[in-house]
């Protein structure tokens, strides 16, 4: 297994995309951890050099347009059920804490 080297900057970028704040110690720890993770995934490269990943990209099943779902309304879950596993909730809403809400991303 070839060891991949990652820069601390990559991990910093990743943490900011994930909106997770890391201390200097955590940054060092995660940099090593991520290097191990990426290195183990790298093993796949040795597995089959013949696989053309660009072609694979579109190697999904194909369906005809007419087999798609008809636009009919089905049943939804009840409010109680959908919120069942939510650690925090309020007035029927999921409740989320944190300071990552800069705007609507849609």
């Amino acid at each position: 297994m070839t060891k991949v080297k990652l820069s601390k900057k990559s991990i910093k970028d990743l943490s900011s995309l994930s909106k997770i704040k890391l201390t200097e110690d955590e940054l060092n720890k995660f940099t090593t951890d991520m290097e191990t993770i990426i290195s183990s995934v790298e093993t796949l490269q040795d597995f089959d050099k013949e696989v053309d990943f660009e072609t694979k990209k579109s190697n999904l099943d194909e369906v005809s347009f007419d087999t798609l779902r008809k636009d009919d309304i089905g049943e939804s879950m009840s409010q109680k059920d959908i919120l069942f596993n939510a650690p925090h909730q309020e007035k029927g809403y999921f409740k989320v804490y944190g300071d990552i809400f800069d705007d609507d991303n849609s």
Partner: protein, 500 residues
């Protein structure tokens, strides 16, 4: 200052498709004023193992928009995952389309501020899903998944728009098209349509546009672009862009550093405010969604969808000008909504039964752009609310044209009928009687006017034909405005001729 800079604008428009169910599950799509999280399922909430199944109708409507904008339609529809971390997106990615949108290379025509035709090229139209609704409260956020998964169409122009006015016109055009084709209601206040302009200000001669991409010329550098969000109306599209252009020009003049960022439009203060620095496409880590197969679009499928294309406003305007001799202004005002055009065409079909078609078209157009629009604007109603009146209105218009009815009186009773004081048909019958009996009365009034004003009568006979105007005025007064001034003049002239 304007001579030194070029303004480059691209517009991203999101439109919620009007469907019964959501994009990838069968939960109801209409979420307005519904209890939170009552129209959600494992797919909407992004629970592990949930399987998205595309909505056929939503894709049909996306293709329909592509056909209406003369786009190329992809033969293989594929969906991709766009990853980002945000609580309004519980599964950690949005199902969207990356390098293979359903529609590409389309265009719409608009008019610029000088009235010249401008082609706005559309780079892509793709299908995706809306995200959940987030309500920010103090230090936490409440999430409602009813909106999560509603079909959303994204329409992206090439960076070819040059002014805030053109951007506004383009946005109205897109809204008009989606409304004509019943793809969406396009109500911006309800979030059914959202406009996000990308704006940059470049020094003249420093840049070029290659394949829809703005590039710096050799040894030049580009100023970064700014994306503006939170625009809540078509008029705010223009205002927000105008504000941003002037802000950017000032920044360049003052040699301030401009960074690529997303700003939000503040409609109260009429300014844009910093929101966040923008993530790049690479940060979204797009990848094909392995849960959704490739959907084959055959020519048969396309032919079937093509049948849903209706005559759009631009085509109607051309036809109205060509066939009916309407002015461009009238044609545009009438076709601005599908309902307006339908009202015009239905009313015209009735009126032209008794009046020559071209004349009927002009007359009907005048009634619509005049009293009808005045009524709709003052009451905030639309044509669908008043289509019951078409049959009687055509009778009224025909009577006015045949000089059986006074124009002023007709407008008066139409207003009464629209305000639902009385039925138009009844009002016509009542007023009609009045006018007919007036015909005899006019003679009476005219004789009296001549008798009471011998000087005017004498003046007329001696060649001062203006004097008839005064006498007409006297008769109109006596008839309390119920007489046709033309008829009054005719009768007066006849009587004066016969008096010594």
């Amino acid at each position: 200052m304007d001579d030194k800079y070029d303004v480059i604008i691209g517009l991203e428009i999101h439109v919620q498709t009007k469907t019964n169910s959501k994009m990838f599950c069968s939960c109801a799509a209409e979420y307005f004023e519904k209890e939170p999280n009552t129209q959600a399922c494992p797919v909407c909430a992004g629970l592990p193992g949930a399987l998205p199944v595309p909505n056929k109708r939503a894709i049909e409507k996306c293709i329909l928009l592509g056909l209406a904008t003369k786009s190329t339609i992809s033969k293989n529809i594929r969906f991709d995952r766009k990853h980002y971390f945000y609580p309004d997106l519980p599964k950690g990615y949005q199902i969207s389309q990356y390098d293979n949108p359903i529609c590409s290379n389309g265009f719409v025509n608009i008019k610029n501020a000088d009235g010249e035709k401008v082609k706005v090229e559309i780079e892509r139209i793709h299908q995706e899903e809306d995200v959940a609704k987030s309500l920010h409260v103090k230090n936490y956020t409440l999430i409602d998944c009813n909106k999560s998964g509603v079909p959303l169409i994204e329409i992206v122009t090439k960076p070819v728009i040059k002014t805030a006015f053109e951007a506004k016109e383009y946005a109205s055009k897109i809204r008009q098209i989606v409304r004509y084709l019943d793809i969406s209601d396009g109500d911006m206040e309800k979030g059914q349509m959202r406009c996000e302009p990308n704006i940059s200000v470049q020094k003249k001669g420093m840049w070029e546009c290659k394949d829809g991409v703005i590039k710096a010329k050799k040894d030049c550098s580009l100023n970064p672009k700014i994306e503006v969000k939170n625009i809540g109306s078509i008029s705010a599209v223009e205002k927000a862009i105008e504000y941003e252009i002037s802000r950017l020009k000032d920044a360049i003049e003052n040699k301030e550093k401009i960074t690529q960022q997303t700003r939000g439009w503040n409609a109260q203060k009429n300014i844009t405010e910093f929101q966040r620095s923008k993530e790049s496409a690479q940060d979204y880590r797009y990848c094909p969604d392995p849960d959704i197969p490739i959907i084959k679009i055959t020519s048969n499928v396309l032919e079937k969808i093509k049948k849903e294309l209706v005559e759009l406003a631009d085509e109607k305007v051309e036809r109205y000008i060509e066939k009916y001799n309407l002015s461009e202004y009238d044609a545009q005002v009438i076709t601005s909504s599908k309902e307006g055009a339908l009202f015009f065409e239905t009313l015209l079909a009735e009126v032209k039964k008794s009046i020559d078609e071209k004349k009927a078209a002009k007359v009907v157009a005048n009634w619509i752009t005049g009293p009808i629009f005045a009524y709709l604007n003052s009451t905030n109603k639309d044509f669908r609310d008043i289509d019951y009146i078409i049959k009687d209105l055509s009778e009224l218009i025909t009577k006015v044209e045949k000089k059986e009815f006074l124009n002023s009186k007709a407008k008066e009773i139409l207003e009464k009928a629209l305000n639902e004081e009385q039925k138009l048909k009844d009002l016509i019958t009542q007023s009609n009687n009045e006018i007919i009996s007036n015909k005899d009365k006019i003679k009476e009034f005219a004789s009296k006017a001549i008798e009471d004003n011998p000087k005017a009568a004498k003046d007329y006979k001696s060649g001062k034909t203006n004097a008839i105007g005064f006498l007409t005025g006297q008769v109109m007064k006596m008839s309390k405005g119920n007489a046709d001034p033309k008829l009054v003049q005719e009768i007066l002239a006849k009587l004066l001729k016969n008096t010594k």
